[in-house]
Symmetry: D3
Subunit: 241 residues, 6 copies
């Protein structure tokens, strides 16, 4: 399964991935997710208040925010706080992270509280949203563990793992886990968010130039499944499971 990738990786080969739990000193849960040169700091903060639409519902909420340090990128990107608003891309990504985490959270069981997950990209080399989701799951799990340790919750209200990986069609070949060099010249780009039991949580597939057919799409889905399995194993180690 050789492929002419800039990194020399095989088509089905992910970058070196590490999930470092407890990276942030103050957060209730945290994880530094590294996918090669893409580094995302994920923190989970527990808040006692839920959004207005859930008040007195007995149900909790998980939400996410995403940001990039201005010089996480090859050339400097404007600081969103200075520009006075978050870009459409930022909002799209943080909505995706939130949805992905809620898909495996038992919102009833977590009680009427909110967990805010922050994903801050320290360094970006492609795949920041998939690294964010994968690392956020660890941060979220650790925060729930803390609530269990404190006796606030009887058990961690997560019904499965969730992780994400990107695939693409690069020089005609479906490949796993695009880095920036591949991402910027791939013919197609697809993000897969899957659970530990291989359920589909979210698929976002986009033709960058020409539309693509079913065959390469199914091939990408297959690559993603294999990648996600590796990531879930790493998550298990990180959360001490």
């Amino acid at each position: 399964m050789a492929a002419d990738r800039p990194s020399g990786r095989n088509a089905d080969k992910m970058r070196d991935v590490s999930l470092e739990p407890g990276f942030a000193k103050y957060a209730e849960g945290s994880c530094l997710a590294r996918f090669g040169d893409t580094h995302v700091l994920c923190t989970a903060s527990i808040e006692d208040r839920v959004p207005p639409f859930l008040r007195n519902s007995g149900s909790g909420w998980v939400t996410a925010e995403y940001g990039m340090l201005p010089r996480s990128t090859h050339t400097r990107t404007d600081r969103e706080a200075a520009r006075g608003k978050q870009s459409g891309r930022t909002q799209e990504i943080q909505r995706l992270i939130g949805r992905s985490l809620r898909a495996v959270t038992d919102l009833k069981a977590m009680g009427e509280r909110q967990i805010k997950v922050d994903c801050d990209v320290l360094q970006a080399d492609g795949g920041t949203r998939t690294a964010s989701i994968t690392g956020s799951f660890v941060a979220l799990h650790l925060a729930f563990q803390k609530l269990v340790q404190l006796g606030t919750l009887p058990s961690v209200p997560l019904i499965d793992h969730v992780a994400a990986v990107s695939c693409g069609i690069y020089k005609g070949t479906p490949v796993l886990d695009l880095d920036y060099a591949e991402d910027s010249s791939a013919e197609a780009d697809a993000n897969f968010v899957l659970t530990g039991r291989a359920g589909i949580v979210e698929i976002q597939a986009t033709a960058e130039e020409d539309p693509f057919g079913d065959e390469p799409f199914f091939e990408m889905l297959k690559l993603a499944r294999a990648g996600i399995a590796e990531l879930v194993d790493l998550q298990k180690t990180a959360i001490g499971g």
Copy 2:
């Protein structure tokens, strides 16, 4: 292929769709797209200036904006102009519309000009983004036709049709073209943007509650293909082809 849908439609049955070209008096191209009770007015406006990153490149651009009238919805939604910003959802949708149209446009052949497509939802009953894409193609085509008629372009620089439809898993069954009643209680929701020759431009599939498996996903893709074929036929009629 019966299904227990609120509308009584079969699983593979779309709502009544109409694409009314030339609805707006002043726009270079326009189309009122109706998918049942979802009505979106799509207009295409030709501008001589391209965005800064394309100046002197000889290449053109197609972009889109999306909005909802405050009372297009069952209960009134705040006006985004009054709130002072577009929501993340709005930005996500307008980016999707723009990407979909560019996927079938020959940007080089259209010359150094920009076409801005506006999709304004007059009435919303689910599926506003897919109606927007489907109607926008007609508006864009008509605007290009006008440039051909004026002798500015030798031919319409569109390499294929593009249309979109949503599918969902409703009470366990994959169904085509969700209306609001289905959308708000579906287990999964997927938007497919496909070309006239059945190439994939964009897939966005989301589990609303439980993750779903491959089988229903492939079933939805199959429903979408059939629906898109119908929509492309309607587009052909609308553009006089």
Copy 3:
């Protein structure tokens, strides 16, 4: 009373006006107001909450918002939601619409609730604010009728009709109901908001170039009275009265 108007209309001749009630499916009251090629969709939405300054006062409130679709105009206008704020013109118009409606509403009798009227211009050919006021009255009346039908209110709390029309001095002659071609080259422009019993609610008269004298001003007021009488008749038909 001939006048050299672009449209060929006599000085005292309004454009074809239609007030189509119930145009919007979900709003409690709605009206599509057409003054020639100027088309404004007016919807009235009932809300249970009043603004803070009226809480526990027993009194209600009527307010309005106004917007234009980007391509309602001859050349595309920037979308206010994308620019992040409403223009001064927009705010001025929506304040005027709100004041005009409140002038004929018995705020005490309507109870502690709010009606928000949205005026969205689908197509603009001059006189959008006067069409908005005239159509909004119908939408508001229909919304109140619904509250009467539901038994919530004993009767419609409107003490009179209110309608509006513009006049101008065009090539030295006072004329009724300016369209865009006249508006953009008129020497003066005046908007009259009058009641069914001919009381003055609001007069806004502006010299576009040279100041004008009393005589043409009084002449415009006379034209407006006649026009308003026609509009009130159309309103009566639209509200089923």
Copy 4:
């Protein structure tokens, strides 16, 4: 012509008005306009750049901005700079001031430059917009005089005076120049912007409660004419004419 006014003034009696030229040290033209306890500082600043729509047109522009000091009012008003936007009222007023000044300015003759007039309310007791217009004319005239003294312009490009005054219907009687106590309980409120030769530049008449008839409206117009004549005399003294 007695009237039961809080101030004890006759119905046709203005407050004590003074127009103090040259109040601001740095502005090219300035005037402190005092209408009783309403004090507005008007400054005119000359800029070499015109707005984009006038570039290379040979024509100039006059524009205005308006603001209130937070504690110019009886109870403190929020600072607009801190709230992050100008209210609809502020924008409406500054557009009115600009239109009024342009109505008497020969924009061609002033050359391709812009004069920005700032009206800042130091103390507010009703009628701030009319005091602003009246004082702005003096500031604008002085700024033009400076250009004449410098030899930049051959003569002051103002074709007439412009001044403004409010009238109202207070306890059933038309009265001139409302102060805050009257304004807040008047049945109607009308602002008249007239020229030195009595031409109408702008009329804004609003029923605060009940619509009013022609008779009181004409009476207010008559009061305004007399008041404007007094104000024009004061302007003449202030500009040294």
Copy 5:
């Protein structure tokens, strides 16, 4: 102690300073502070509500806002309300004013209420922040006196005077109370906020070009002490003490 200053003043000579109490008609306390051509109107407004972090604490709060009239400066400065936000400089200054006033206020003794101080620069010739602090103290004191007169407070809850003055190193010589001509070309600039008993409340010293040594810094501190003593005497007169 001669110095080659543009104004001809000696190095230890302040500009003519006046503190005019009661300048604003409606404010509970006010003072027009003039330092030469720098004129700042300071008003103190009493509010019954404290910020959320102090609710039910029994403690009060003093805060400040700062603004400049657009043409207070030699050339016109953009209006912050029109630009839609306060500059970093504005925020820095108003935070400094608030801190300085709170340093001499017994927040417990003033009760659970807030005083908002507004400092609006009518004319700017250097040293607007120090004039603001010096004048604000007077406005604040007068507002407290009013509460004492009303019997709301037993005594004025101010534990000392606070005043401010700038110093600089101009052409190598430490000088007191910079005006704009000096400020814009000084080698260093230092603002001193001191109490009546010579305690340090705030020191902000900045090298504009080359770093400076201890000696000139101590010299500036000495000049400031003398200046502050004069200002405190003027404050005493202004507050009737």
Copy 6:
């Protein structure tokens, strides 16, 4: 020189400080500055464009931006990009960092280019602004070194080191380098920005509760000098000098 500090440090003892150069992969210069548990990532980005006021001046510019990760703090802080604006505190800090760096930069010698320094707080335990300045100097120096290596500049255009440290009066005793526990209960807080040759660049001293006298102020200045000397030594090591 014992002191009853929460950390057990002596009054003149700084926290463990490390300056790790080259921490960020893409930036032209970078440094991770750690002052105990306060960790700030400083990056320097070279841009070819200068701000408008310097165009064609031959002179360059150094500017800074500052931000905190939402969960860098003990409890989560709102993300400024999501709130839509930078706080006054943020703006005050980034202006200070920029001024401090420019004080030791030969802007003429650096050529017409701009260096943007970003200081992002990964973890906050007091003293983030002083850590930012100290680390930024290293990042800036490394970026200049890169320009020297490329042959773009003949030598590094920095005329001295600049570093910063905070002091405070804690339980009556002047102490060096406050951590959060001390900072939040100190009687006074002072930031000193000094050069390698001990020149004063900036002093910001603030009484948090009671004003303080000269003696403790001079004592803090002395402590700062000693601390800065240590920091400059660490900077020398970090930049390879």
